[in-house]
């Protein structure tokens, strides 16, 4: 199915800048995880090794994904989406309660988090929809109804888990993709007005107590440093403690003395910021910025809408994760559980990010390839 000349030429166009940026982040991420988990004893202190396994596994999965021409995914778009939504529903049936939320499906010792993969499936589904949508005139809200529903269904399921962070990411990814399409200004205005109008309703009926708490704590952080404000406060202190050059590897006291809970999952950034300082954090942000902007560049060079939306979508996943995670740890955004790509520990998270990067690579490598023959379309 993959025509030899296309794949051969694709291999020549391997996207080195994308690969190097991602690899650098991954390496920094593992090194940082080593430091972050050094405060633990037992199996937790070896999470960085598991992370390497996940990176390798994600790499293999990514390799496979790169090898398959992304355009084949187009046909699978809604199937994958349906599978994603189905597994999200399955979470409610099967998942075990972990700290008040159920996000995982377990097969023996293997745990997997459908909400993570849903991000990729949603991007593919949205790409397919826009690919199939012949319109090039300004879209009205009505025209965006289907993609909005495509987003809304998994987002609500995820919100029910409850996982405000991932639901937010899905919504933001959708909005980013929508922003690429030509939406009428009037529709944008109506949308903004509607969201503003709906906000109090969402606040009262959709959000759970603890989610509301997090936002109130964010707005008045010093009220409750010992409990709900603990994470935000100590993570800010850790970042500030880093100063210009940082305290050095393994020398961040906020981390070493356990003031950063969840430093391997949601809060690896303060660990890094404390050890490497402003110099280190700027480098890391530049890497994420490069990755995000490079994704937009890949999207803009894509040969078809499917590839373009895929590029924007994958870029949006990486961008929003990085922005929200760093934003919440540095106290400019409320604390919601959003991982930092390739820095946070976790199989589902790592493989999802690797898949996103693989898809970007895929689109990037095939930007020169011929449009598939009409008979295949």
């Amino acid at each position: 199915m993959i025509r030899g000349d296309v794949s051969g030429r694709a291999r020549d166009h391997f996207d080195w800048p994308l690969f190097i940026a991602a690899a650098l982040i991954a390496v920094l991420g593992v090194v940082n995880l080593y430091s972050a988990t050094s405060v633990y004893s037992g199996s937790r202190s070896e999470l960085y090794i598991s992370q390497v396994y996940w990176l390798v596994l994600g790499g293999i999965l990514g390799g496979v994904l790169v090898a398959i021409d992304y355009r084949h995914l187009e046909r699978l778009g809604y199937v994958l989406y349906a599978f994603g939504v189905f597994s999200l529903g399955l979470v409610f049936v099967l998942a075990r309660d972990v700290r008040g939320s159920s996000r995982w499906i377990e097969f023996g010792s293997f745990r997997f988090q459908p909400s993570e993969f849903m991000k990729i499936f949603l991007v593919i589904a949205l790409a397919k929809f826009l690919h199939d949508d012949p319109r090039s005139e300004g879209r009205t809200l009505k025209d965006l109804l289907v993609p909005a529903v495509l987003t809304g269904v998994p987002a609500l399921l995820i919100l029910k888990q409850p996982d405000l962070g991932t639901a937010t990411i899905l919504t933001l990814v959708f909005l980013t993709i929508a922003a690429v399409t030509r939406v009428r200004w009037k529709s944008v205005a109506v949308f903004v007005a509607t969201v503003a109008g709906a906000a109090p309703i969402i606040w009262s009926y959709v959000l759970l107590d603890y989610q509301r708490d997090r936002i109130t704590v964010f707005l008045r952080p010093e009220d409750d440093i010992l409990h709900r404000g603990w994470h935000a406060h100590h993570s800010r202190v850790a970042i500030g403690n880093g100063g210009l050059f940082g305290n050095g590897f393994m020398k961040g006291t906020q981390n070493q003395f356990n003031f950063l809970p969840d430093q391997f999952s949601d809060f690896p950034f303060p660990v890094y910021a404390e050890e490497w300082g402003f110099v280190g954090t700027v480098l890391l942000i530049l890497l994420y910025a490069f990755l995000s902007l490079w994704a937009i560049r890949i999207a803009s060079l894509a040969k078809d809408r499917f590839g373009a939306v895929l590029g924007v979508g994958c870029g949006a996943i990486l961008f929003w994760h990085a922005l929200i995670n760093i934003g919440m740890t540095s106290g400019v955004l409320p604390v919601v559980g959003v991982t930092l790509p390739l820095f946070s520990y976790g199989g589902s998270s790592v493989t999802t990010v690797m898949m996103a990067i693989a898809l970007l690579m895929n689109v990037s490598m095939r930007r020169y390839s011929a449009v598939p023959a009409p008979d295949r379309l």
């Binding site: 690919h131 910021a273 300082g277 402003f278 954090t281 910025a289 995000s292 902007l293 379309l377």
Partner: protein, 646 residues
Amino acid sequence: MSLVVQRSDVSEFRRRFRWIALGMALLFLGLILRLFQLQLLESDDSKAIARENIVRRVTLATTRGIIRDRNGKVLAESRPSYNLYVVPERIDMQNVWPKLVDYLGVGVDERARLETLLTNIRASDGPRKSQQILLKEDISRDAVATLRTHDAELPAVDVVPVPVRSYPYEEVGAHVLGYMAEVDAEKLSQLRSAGYVEGDRVGAMGIERAWESYLRGTRGWEKVLVDAKGRRRPGGEGIIEDPRRVDPIPGRDLRLTLDAEIQRAIEKAMRGELAGGVALVDVRTGRILGLYSKPSYDPNALSGGSGKQVIRDAFRRLYSDPLKPALDKTIAGAYPPGSTFKPFTALAALEKGLIDPRASTQCRGALTFGKRTFRCTHVHGSTDLHKGIAESCNVYFYRLAAELGVGMDVIAEMGQRFGLGTRTGLGVNAEAQGRMPTRAWMTLRNKGQFRLGFGLNAAIGQGATTVTVLQLALAYAALANGGTLYQPQIVRAVETSAGTVVQEFAPRVRRQIDVSPENLSRVQKALFAGVNSEAGTAYKARVLGVDMAGKTGTAQVSHKLARGAEAERVWYFNREHAWFAGYSPTRSPEVAVVVLVEHGGAGGKHAAPIAFEVVRAYQELMRERSPRAGVTSAGRAPSKGQGSAP
């Protein structure tokens, strides 16, 4: 083909890619600016907070000095007690709580009480539920050990050692030693600069209070590294600046002049009486060997370790008892001395040359003076000074005042020379002053009216004349030693915890009383007869082998209870105070003893036997301790490094 082109047309998006990219870039720039703010502009604040987070200054407790008696017996020391703290909010009532009560080994009632307490706090809204609260004080050693082994199963539970003052002699000498109490807010504001903090215990009474600054010691501190859960972490070089530690200085020990065994003997001798006070003073030094007030109380119950409720209850009992256990009857209570004062009246008359000691007076059991009749105990017949003292004839002394010109002022002056009616300056507890009423004072008190009858009362130590037990003991010591009035002394030396004497207090003479030895000797002989002649008032109380001179007294109670109160109380509280004051042995005296039995009745019957008992105990103890049997050496403590008394 057109379909293909249309479906794949990316041109629609193209212009917007730039805006998206610009938006992303700007948002990342915003993050960088935020990090610039945190890591460069506000970094110093964060660094300070991060440092504060892990560097904690912990105070290092100091140990309070030990109070010992003159032979080294411990009267007050600190023992470790263990308090149990829990964080109500964080304690698991289903799984952890049953284990905790099991390990504690508390009874059903106690368990229910603690459970209610916890449940209430957990249900309340206050900040208390997230803080450590004191659940139980002074838990047993066994419970501590069990809790320590099961530490891991008991999150939010903490056992904290706290030193608690312990008084092995319990009620014996509580008034002198005092007790400890938690420092209150008002006192704390004054003491904060001296290093006191909330929850500290401070000497609240007696020597504990008066010598607080010696006993207390100085806290030390140490800077340690702690993690977020408050666990200690080693290391800290480069994080903690020097000095990292200041060692605590333990409090000074005190060596008292008191003798624990004598205190015990006094307590035992007083067992038959409800209330009163006893003082035993070394005639040659003014050192106090025994000072005991009854009823007493257990300072252990007040000093903590047993829980706030127990302390509150103990205080309530202390202050609601009509026998006033809180009052130190040896120095804080002023009582009319009654006949024990007669030797001073006699001396006043003799020194002024107003009487001939050999001249006799007829006692017919009473003396009518003006419109009033002043009573005597019985008909003494022909009475001279010697007999007047020995057999305690009131009429003889009335005559001195009424007919021989021994006025109030003369009597008061003599009393004052012997330290009566003046605070002794013991410096341990608040002292009553007592009173030697003068003519002027009585006139003032009676709205300008002075009646000669006042002087008659003063001559026999009644009426407005009041003294404290300790004053009288020192005065009798002066009678015994030829007129040297000593400063009373109860703390003999300050020592380090290693036993080295830091400061030793030599006996201090307050005054050499200028009385002629001849007159003094006359009085001494009369005091000897008071005990040893068959008609002497204390004759019946004599104890074989105790060589004593002294004077009994029976003092009227001035504020009689009105009828209408319970009959039993009226009977008791309207009864006279029984006194005995004396010294022993009669030829080279060593100790002066004063016994006051409140509402005890006749002195000869109720106070004198106690005095004999106490002195006998003293003699036995001296014999036991003396290297050469039979040679007594009061005031000379056998312990090392004490120096010797002059």
